[in-house]
């Protein structure tokens, strides 16, 4: 049963990932990327990592995708407009980079021997993630909050500047 589910999800994941890179319209690519992310979330659930699965959906399929769509909207790329790169060299560089990543992943999996290993059933549950966050990783967890505070203050500072600037006359060109 689980194997059948795995095969179906894997096929959908691969198929939608293929669609991401072959669609001409960026919006369609982004929507297929969401589908890929959902498939990945299913894999996490099958591995017993519910928390990571939830994070995958909230952060990637949710927040990051909204960001992507928002940027596409701001750039005002029409659905029919292709985003082909002029230089063919870039395509080959992309292939080389993807191949390199594949190679690294393959050697990593080979040397660790991950296939068929029994996983700790508590790994990736809400409880174990929460316990680790508040004991072993307490300090990084707190520093992350400083990071977010900095990001919030920074955003507000930049947006406020923009408003007061546009209210005044356009400033000088150089310093």
């Amino acid at each position: 049963m689980e194997l059948i589910l795995f095969i179906i999800t894997a096929l959908v994941a691969l198929g939608s990932a293929f669609m991401v890179i072959t669609r001409r319209s960026p919006i369609a690519s982004v929507l297929f990327l969401i589908l890929t992310f959902f498939c990945l979330a299913v894999f996490y659930v099958m591995l017993g990592a519910q928390f990571i699965a939830a994070m995958q959906i909230i952060v990637y399929a949710g927040a990051i995708m909204v960001l992507f769509l928002f940027v596409l909207m701001l750039l005002n790329l029409r659905g029919t407009q292709s985003w082909e790169v002029g230089n063919p060299l870039r395509k080959w560089l992309g292939f080389a980079a993807a191949g390199g990543i594949l190679l690294v992943a393959a050697t990593a999996i080979k040397s660790v021997g991950m296939i068929g290993t029994e996983l700790d059933p508590a790994l990736g549950t809400v409880e174990s993630v929460g316990r680790n966050l508040f004991t072993r990783f307490l300090l990084p967890f707190e520093i992350a909050s400083v990071l977010l505070l900095g990001a919030i203050i920074g955003t507000v500072a930049m947006v406020k500047q923009k408003q007061s600037e546009s209210a005044e006359e356009k400033g000088g060109e150089e310093q």
């Binding site: 072993r136 300090l139 520093i143 400083v146 203050i153 150089e174």
Partner: protein
Amino acid sequence: MIFNPTDLLAVLPEISILVLTLLVIMLELLITRRVLVLQIVTLVGLAAILLITCFAGLGSHGGAFNGMIASDGFSVFLKALLIGVTMMVIFTSREYLRGSNVRYGEYTGMILIATCGMMVLVSATDLLTIFLGIETMSIALYVLAGIRSGRARSSEAAFKYFLLGAFSTGFLLYGMALIYGATGGKTNLTEIGQVISELKDMPVYLFAGVGLISIGLLFKVAAVPFHFWSPDVYQGSPTPVTMFMAVGPKAAAFAVFIRLFGSALSGLSADVWGPVLWVVAVATMTLGNIIALSQTNIKRMLAYSSIAHAGYLLLAVLASANPEVHVTASAGLLFYLTAYAFMNIGAFTVAILVSRSRKDGDYHIDDYQGIASTNPWIAGAMAIFMISLSGIPPTLGFFGKLYVFSAAVKAGYITLVVIAVLNSVISVYYYLRIVVYMYMRPAAEPKTVLVKEYSWAIVVGICAVIIMLAGILPNQTMKKAISGAETKVNPTQTVIKT
């Protein structure tokens, strides 16, 4: 695993900075107009934190929070330096930002948060804290680069810095993930060092991880070939931010460099990253100095000079991988960073002073012609900074170079030191050109008469006095640096003992 309340002592400086940040931002809501009050509160707060850092830090040596950070002499030294730098940046900023639309409270808040990130970074002994520290610092700096949003140059600087910085963070994080995988799930630097020393055959992706991490860090210190952002960003950012950027992140990133490469990954130095960093160091010094020769904008010239200085500092990183000279090299790095901080802050402040006496506020080096006749004190201070930057005795810059180069010689990098010394000779040309302009050229008409602004003059004076005094008595500073380096949590030594 259990949280230990005494660990809080180790992060007391960071917590205090955070409290001060919140205080300043809240206070700005109440007293929007009185920028002077905000500045005084910030400066007094920072002075208190400086004292806290020096006294609280001395109590606990070693790791805290399960080895996430270390409050050792090394980090206390750098934290004190960073707070000093921040104080001077805050001190110069108020007058600089007068009349602009920048809100002082948020500006100060961003500087303090960047400082907090750097302080985490200099004490980080775990890949997680290193990453979070770098991000906290960088995000605040992206905002600061573009804080004067109406100006094309400032926006360009912020955008360039943000895009390239985000990209380099990706490299850094991927490298960390690969090292995490290669060492069997370790993020602590000491544990990584131990695992690597016990590994029989090195997996390829460990090398890939080391390579990617070094790309991320080399970007942060603006080493060749990852330096393209720095001249544009330095030129476009508001000058107090530029001097903060030139000094703070560099000190923090080099602290990480020496903890990561000089200690945890020192076992890989001979066959993996040593030769690569050797080439990078030569390229960084040479390219930085040669391009600086042709610059006519003082901010760009100082940007290329700081690229060259990153090259010299890489010598200390290379030398520190040798366990016998690790302490000497770390102490040399601390000393050099101190010298570098005061020289650059002084030089950038003089640059502000000179540019503000022009109507358009430009930073051309022709403006320095004949300054010695109208403003002998400022010209004298600028001459001290330039002489110190080029490394001529008896200034602080000379001793910085001396300690770093001698550590490198002890570690056996003789060719590299010869190249570095030749580079210092090249750099004398463009540094002393400013001195020649100030003293030997007649003043251009209309004469440059510097604005009378006491806060800037005070910062220039403090930097000049420190460079001369510490240059005449370098032993005191060096003693502090050595004691800092000796108490550094040092994975190499534990590996040797076991």
